[in-house]
Subunit: 455 residues, 2 copies
């Protein structure tokens, strides 16, 4: 009897966040906020995710202290250093670091990811962000933040240069001819000679081509600029969507934009965030959600909401409605998150307090409270209804929330034939079913002899 | 009977370099150049150094491909990512990364080192360099390299900002009051509000204060500018010295400069480089040195020498003398290395070929070929004669050259009471006998509420 054709497989990313994604998680007895600068804590989380055969772990990042550290477990590891340490503590799982194109240089960033890709045997991914806050700008010599579309313009050129640098060594450049004294064939190591609007970079990179050729390119902003950027460059997209229909529309839009850039829809995996609040009964899950809500500090929620909405809400009555909001065009931070939050408040007629509660778990991402079975049902629904190629899993509390997902939800998805039962590949690209890019071969000017010395 | 007072202890740093420090090491059958992008290779090296109770491992760095990759095993890991991976593979040994102040931003660099210090439980060190080559400038949007004294001016301000950032969280800032909902006492997290010539940085850092407070600050340039910088900021200095008397003069000069900045001589550890070519007999060591010399590629040596001397030597007869050289003032690269190499050639009347051979092992660092006993004698001589507080050990070939040093030279130094027989401290500062800096307590403006959001 012929085997039935394998079902399309979903992809799962574990988004690790200090004590968990809920902004009051650190106050809950289930969490261990005293461990958030302990590397073994993150090693354990990464190993849990790997036990769940998850495609990748992911670290968000900002270049300033997020929000107000008085009320939340903020501050901790820089992603590239932490993921390098996790690379040696894991074997298969992908490692995705957020790095900003606004406050870094392409040479430095391309090099760090090539290095992480070597360290991990081909498991590096780069979540490309343009940085959303004036607090970040002020740590880098600017009084005001770069304008939204200019940030994306810089991001496009940044990625273009990074790709040229990753391609500056061919796979077979190192020949190791000990007898003849030839270490590398320098015809296969090319300067990039990039001269653009934002960057001039000569190259080549000083790291040989890495196992994946390039890290997996990930993108997370869903504004007009962000979607266009993703359609052109991204191989996986993290997005915040509140409803099935919004997520379907987003996925359809992104894949049709990708097609306009000559890419297939399969070349871009769309992964909405989900904050799963898991209980052994639905009532238990809802009780846990309520426990976390009760622990929220309203001042913190209000400050966060002020940031997301580009509007100072301080002093407004918590049980009143939202004030008049600016137009999306006038938001210079995370535009798609502004729109999502404004729509959510309007649609459900929420007071400030209710809105703060709704945003506590996932900062605008989809929160689902229920049993493992109920959560698996919702994931399957979104996955099979054209809303998602997989999910960015954001446990409300850590480490337990990840254990529950791995031990309870993953087996259901496996039993339904929706998720792998073993890793079949070695690299992050393998896990996401994406090809290893080839180095373009046309024109290979010889690398000139360069002088320069280590100390 | 009272115990005799303990002898002053020397410090050892293992300088790891791909297939080894000799420029022809990769051609020698003792080495494994195919492993230089394999993290387990460096893990094994770091564990060997840790077995030898060495204070620290160290990675040099440049922001362009060094020299000509046709002839040498160049290109590999970025230091901060690699050392983060080594942090989890070791327990006690210090981890020193080279990072340039010319092509980075203080916020990024301060943060990465704070992160590495947390990852390693207090074992991070920063070798502060200003970058010496135009090839590096060309990877960062510049046609010409920043002028030498301007680079140091930027470096001084860079370190000043980094220190302010490391001090922006007090040790006890995280209070974790779950009941009261107070995660951190924000009176103990301060913006740095730096407004200088090169940088404007608001702060605070987004990493809590790390185990060492600050990484160990290391410096490696020995020019006038470099010495002044080291005297003011450095806690350990790597230096290239060819003779006992030169090393004595350097150490004396540096410590008296430190005193002029109100520091004690003990606050700055001076570690000359030594490339130990070890044999079971002196003849065997000399034979190994000769084997490596024979494997040198003259084109490579000539290009490297051209770089060090700021003079194009291409086409000159290898068996002839050096041409007229520029004045040190006109060198915009590594000035102290220029002077060392020029003096060495003049003093010993070397031909180009002989000079290339002399520089093959240590690029200007002291090369000693002999038995373990003979090498220990020379180290003891320099250490007891005021030329060194310890040594930067640069094995000519790896991994074997480090094994030989650890297994043969270290036990002799221990038997003579000159080197530790176990790690007594936990942090890199402990190993070097340097204090953990305190956060200045004066004036603690409250951190304002900031808005901003992870994706």
């Amino acid at each position: 009897m012929p085997a039935s054709p394998p079902r399309r497989q979903l992809h799962l990313n574990a988004f690790l966040m200090n004590a968990g994604h809920h902004d009051a998680a650190w106050r809950h007895p289930l969490t261990t906020p005293e461990r958030i600068t302990d590397p073994t804590y993150f090693q354990e989380l990464a190993r849990t995710a790997e036990r769940g055969l998850v495609d990748s772990v992911f670290l968000a990042d900002g270049l300033a202290l997020w929000g107000n550290a008085r009320y939340n477990a903020l501050g901790g590891f820089e992603p590239l250093t932490l993921l390098s340490a996790l690379a040696t503590a894991t074997e298969r799982i992908g490692l995705i670091a957020t790095v900003s194109t606004t406050f870094n240089e392409p040479f430095t960033t391309a090099r760090a990811f090539a290095s992480l890709d070597h360290l991990s045997g081909g498991r590096a991914g780069w979540n490309i962000v343009t940085s959303g806050s004036v607090d970040e700008a002020r740590n880098f010599g600017r009084d005001e933040h770069l304008e939204h579309s200019l940030r994306y313009e810089r991001a496009r050129e940044f990625v273009e240069v990074a790709v040229k640098l990753w391609d500056s060594w061919e796979d077979d450049a190192i020949v190791l001819d000990r007898e003849g004294g030839v270490y590398a064939d320098t015809d296969r190591i090319r300067p990039v000679d990039h001269r653009g609007t934002h960057f001039r970079v000569r190259g080549p990179l000083n790291v040989p081509r890495s196992p994946q050729g390039r890290p997996l390119l990930v993108q997370a902003g869903s504004s007009e600029d962000g979607r266009e950027f993703a359609a052109r460059h991204a191989e996986a997209v993290f997005t915040a969507q509140q409803t099935l229909s919004d997520a379907q529309a987003f996925s359809k839009d992104l894949k049709s934009r990708a097609a306009r850039h000559g890419r297939s829809g399969d070349d871009v995996k769309v992964l909405p965030g989900i904050c799963p609040v898991i209980g052994s009964t639905e009532a238990e899950a809802r009780a846990l959600e309520q426990e976390l809500t009760v622990l929220q500090v309203p001042e913190y929620g209000l400050a966060q909401l002020s940031g997301m909405l580009g509007t100072d809400l301080t002093g407004l009555p918590l049980d009143g409605p939202l004030p008049e909001l600016p137009d999306e065009r006038d938001i210079n931070g995370n535009r798609s998150r502004f729109t999502l939050v404004a729509d959510l408040a309007r649609r459900d007629g929420l007071t400030l307090r209710e809105l703060i509660a709704r945003l506590g778990g996932g900062r605008g991402h989809w929160v689902v409270a229920g049993t493992a079975e109920q959560i698996a049902d919702r994931l399957e629904e979104w996955f099979t209804q054209g809303a998602a190629d997989g999910f960015n899993v954001m446990p409300p509390h850590l480490p337990g929330g990840l254990d529950h997902f791995v031990d309870q939800v993953v087996p259901i998805l496996q039993a339904r034939g929706l998720f792998r039962t073993e890793y079949t590949g070695r690299t992050l690209r393998d896990h996401y079913g994406l090809p290893r890019p080839a180095v373009p071969r046309a024109g290979r000017p010889r690398q000139p002899v360069a002088a320069g010395e280590p100390a």
